[in-house]
Every structure is written in structure tokens, then in C-alpha cells.
């Protein structure tokens, strides 16, 4: 019985390490996105996967324009820049946006390092903003670096779009927020909440499972 349990745990380890048919899934609701790890069945998501989340609300800075703006730490590190060479980004009133109308806002994320999987889930409340940081409805194209994207109207009622990668070899490395509506020279594209998520590396999950099983056997 003990052996079969141990073999079962090894089978679990093997299945965790194995690569499934994995890709990107997009979500239109924040609550569904946040709950997604329990519903995804890919190479990095096993039943009971505990994802780690980080939220950036850009509340700490106001009225500043720089060529790049960074935040987060370790796996949740991010840097925002303008798509235009020499362009800048503005943080104001709890929002971050490209400083020039028509420019895209590009956010790059930390690459996987050591036991970190990097960013496997990303979402945001996307909008246009006026120069005071007040949100404006409009059509935006939210594009991941791997090519998956969502183009739609973003409004106060529906500001969210999010993505999960369930492929261990395909963390989310960048996000491009591209304006589609032309709302004039003083309206800029950006976001006022950035949601990031990661999951334990498959190897560490497997190792924890094996160590737990061995510990259990010794106690018996």
C-alpha cells in the first residue's frame, strides 16, 4: 500500500514534469482569471496549484514622466516604456500611460531565473487616460509578446483583460497596450491596475511531493 502510494506520487511527479498541450488562455473577467489556476490543466498547473499574485496600483507616484518606470520585485518585476524611441511614460492619479497620444505602452517582465517560473499570468484594468489620469473609454489592443492578444472596447464596466500561460517553457515576458481609438492629442493609453501571477516551478512541486512522501514513510 505504501509502495503503491509512493509510486503514485512518482507518477504524479512525472506527470507534473511532462509537457502537455499548452498555450495561452485569455480571460475577460478578473474573478475568472484569478480563479483560473484551479481550472487549467497544463504542464505547470496541477490540481491544488497555489499561484502567487502581485498587484500594482501605481498609487505611489504622481505626475511624473520618465523614459521608463519600474516596480515589483523578483518574479513580479516590471518595467514600462513607450513604444516610441525616446518616448516617455507618465504616472498620475493611480494610472500609468504612454505620454504621447498614439504611442503604445510596453511593459516588460522579469525572465525566469533559478526556481522562479517568471510571470505566468498577467491582467490589467486597461483604459485611455487624460493628462490628469482620469479614465476614458476607448478601443485598445492588448498584446502579449508571444502574439496572443485581445482587441476590444475598454470601459468603466469592463476594464479587465487577463491571460495565463500554462506552458512552463513559455512565461509571459511582455505586454503591449496599443491604442486603436484616436481620442485626440491629450488622451493616452495605459492601465490603472496591473495583476501579475506565477506558479511554483514543476520541478519544485515534484520535489516537494517526493520529500513529503518520504517524510511520511519515515514517520510511519
Amino acid at each position: 500500500m505504501k509502495h503503491s502510494a509512493f509510486i503514485a506520487s512518482l507518477a504524479t511527479v512525472a506527470s507534473v514534469v511532462a509537457t502537455a498541450d499548452a498555450a495561452i488562455t485569455a480571460y475577460a473577467r478578473h474573478s475568472t482569471w484569478a480563479a483560473a489556476p484551479a481550472n487549467l490543466a497544463g504542464s505547470v498547473f496541477t490540481p491544488g496549484t497555489a499561484a502567487s499574485f502581485a498587484t500594482e496600483t501605481f498609487a505611489g507616484a504622481a505626475g511624473s514622466s520618465t523614459t521608463s518606470y519600474s516596480g515589483g520585485s523578483a518574479w513580479s518585476s516590471w518595467t514600462a516604456t513607450s513604444s516610441v524611441a525616446g518616448g516617455s511614460v507618465t504616472v498620475n492619479n493611480g494610472a500609468i500611460f504612454a505620454s504621447a497620444a498614439g504611442s503604445s505602452l510596453v511593459i516588460n517582465f522579469a525572465a525566469p531565473s533559478g526556481s522562479s517560473m517568471g510571470v505566468m499570468g498577467v491582467g490589467g484594468d486597461f483604459r485611455f487616460f487624460d493628462q490628469y489620469g482620469m479614465p476614458v473609454d476607448g478601443r485598445i489592443w492588448v498584446r502579449l509578446g508571444n502574439g496572443t492578444s485581445v482587441m476590444r472596447n475598454f470601459t468603466a464596466a469592463e476594464p479587465f483583460v487577463g491571460f495565463w500561460s500554462d506552458d512552463a517553457s513559455s512565461p509571459i515576458l511582455s505586454l503591449r497596450i496599443q491604442p486603436i481609438s484616436n481620442l485626440g492629442a491629450t488622451t493616452f493609453v495605459g492601465l490603472d491596475s496591473l495583476y501579475l501571477a506565477t506558479v511554483p516551478a514543476p520541478g519544485s512541486v515534484a520535489l516537494l511531493a517526493a520529500v513529503g512522501m518520504i517524510g511520511s514513510r519515515r514517520r510511519r
Partner: protein, 225 residues
């Protein structure tokens, strides 16, 4: 059936250039608005010589009855709808799966040719239907044949979900719609309208296709003599 040429759709409220797209990768773009889906190809990095077009099939208006599966279109816009082990029911306005909770699968025959021309966009108006025939708002998961997916809420006012392959080399052969976060029984996924989008060199006109077919038959007949 309705046609639309992307190049003809330029609104003053829309930035009519994709210049700000920069070096972003191409892949799958998802949409929840038919008008945006129709206008979107103007922003894609398709070859300059390409044109886009789309056609609409009012599959919900199929003659009332039971169908094990249903197909339509031709050439680049050939399609087939099935519901796995379940069948399909057409009630005159909606085509829906007979089994509660069953997935709807759409297969596409218009795979892009060697030059990439062919089916690149798919959209539809979808509904969640209670057993008593009323519609309700809920989430569905649409998975494409390449594994990419979207979880989208559909309702009477927002029934549309669609995608375009912005990568001209990408081929999508099918998509599957499943209820998400819903517990059977008592509901079915249905479809009222199917939209298929073409991207590539000049759209083959039905008349031209028929002419080519006739010419081919004549040639074949002459060779046999």
C-alpha cells in the same frame, strides 16, 4: 451572406495605421465585438498585396429539426458544426446542442494555401439556453485547434466572440465551445450567426470559381477524347 472589404472601413475615430504596433509578435487576436472584428484586419501585419473579406452564415435560421451535424459554405469558407455525441436542434432562430452541457465543435475546410491565402478569421454570436428556452448570461471557453483559448462572458447584448490569426502563416482548423463554470443539467450552448474571415491574395469570387471549374471539366473532357 454579407461581404466586407477591410480596406474600405476607415473611420475618422480609428487610427488607420498599424505603425505603433512596432515589433510585437503575431499570433491570435480575440474579439468580443463584431464591428471591431470586421475592422481589425486593417491593423494586422498581413502582406501588402493581401485583401480581407468576410461572410456571414445565419446558421440559427436553419430549417427547424434535428441534425446529427450541419455543414455549409464552400472553398475557403467551408464549415461544419457538431456537438460530439449529442446532436443539434434548430428551432428557427438558434442552433443548439441537444445534450445539456455538451460542447459545440466547428471545423473549417478553408485551410490557407501555400501562399497563406484562406480562412484566417472566425466569429459567431453564441448563446447559453436554459432547458425552458430562455437565454441567460454566462461564461464559455472557446479553444482553437492550436491550443489557444479565451474565456468570455456571453449574453443577449454581448453574444459575439471571435478571433483572427494575425500571423499569416498560422492555420486554425477547428474551434470548440464549452460551458465554463456551469453545472449541467438544464442548459445548452447555441449559435445564431457564424462569421468567417478571409485573408490572402484576391478573394476567389464564386463566379470565377465556377468558371474555373467549368474550364477544368472541359479540359478534362477534351483530354479523355
Amino acid at each position: 451572406m454579407r461581404h466586407f472589404i477591410a480596406g474600405a472601413f476607415v473611420s475618422t475615430g480609428i487610427i488607420a495605421t498599424a505603425a505603433s504596433a512596432g515589433a510585437a509578435s503575431e499570433g491570435i487576436a480575440f474579439f468580443d465585438d463584431l464591428k471591431i472584428w470586421e475592422a481589425a484586419p486593417a491593423f494586422f501585419s498581413y502582406p501588402e498585396s493581401w485583401v480581407t473579406d468576410n461572410v456571414e452564415f445565419a446558421v440559427g435560421q436553419t430549417a427547424v429539426g434535428y441534425y446529427p451535424g450541419l455543414s455549409g459554405g464552400a472553398d475557403w469558407n467551408a464549415w461544419a458544426i457538431s456537438a460530439g455525441n449529442a446532436g443539434l436542434i434548430a428551432n428557427g432562430s438558434l442552433l443548439y446542442a441537444t445534450a445539456s452541457g455538451a460542447s459545440l465543435r466547428l471545423d473549417f475546410g478553408g485551410k490557407p494555401g501555400t501562399d497563406g491565402s484562406g480562412l484566417h478569421g472566425v466569429g459567431g454570436n453564441f448563446r447559453l439556453r436554459n432547458e425552458d428556452g430562455t437565454f441567460f448570461k454566462g461564461e464559455i471557453r472557446i479553444e482553437l485547434s492550436n491550443g489557444e483559448a479565451i474565456v468570455e462572458e456571453i449574453s443577449k447584448s454581448n453574444p459575439f466572440v471571435g478571433f483572427w490569426a494575425t500571423d499569416p502563416t498560422l492555420t486554425i482548423t477547428s474551434m470548440t465551445l464549452s460551458p465554463y463554470g456551469l453545472t449541467p443539467p438544464d442548459f445548452s450552448i447555441g449559435i445564431t450567426d457564424l462569421y468567417l474571415g478571409y485573408a490572402g491574395v484576391a478573394v476567389p469570387a464564386p463566379g470565377a470559381l465556377a468558371l474555373l471549374g467549368a474550364a477544368g471539366l472541359i479540359g478534362f473532357s477534351r483530354r479523355r477524347r
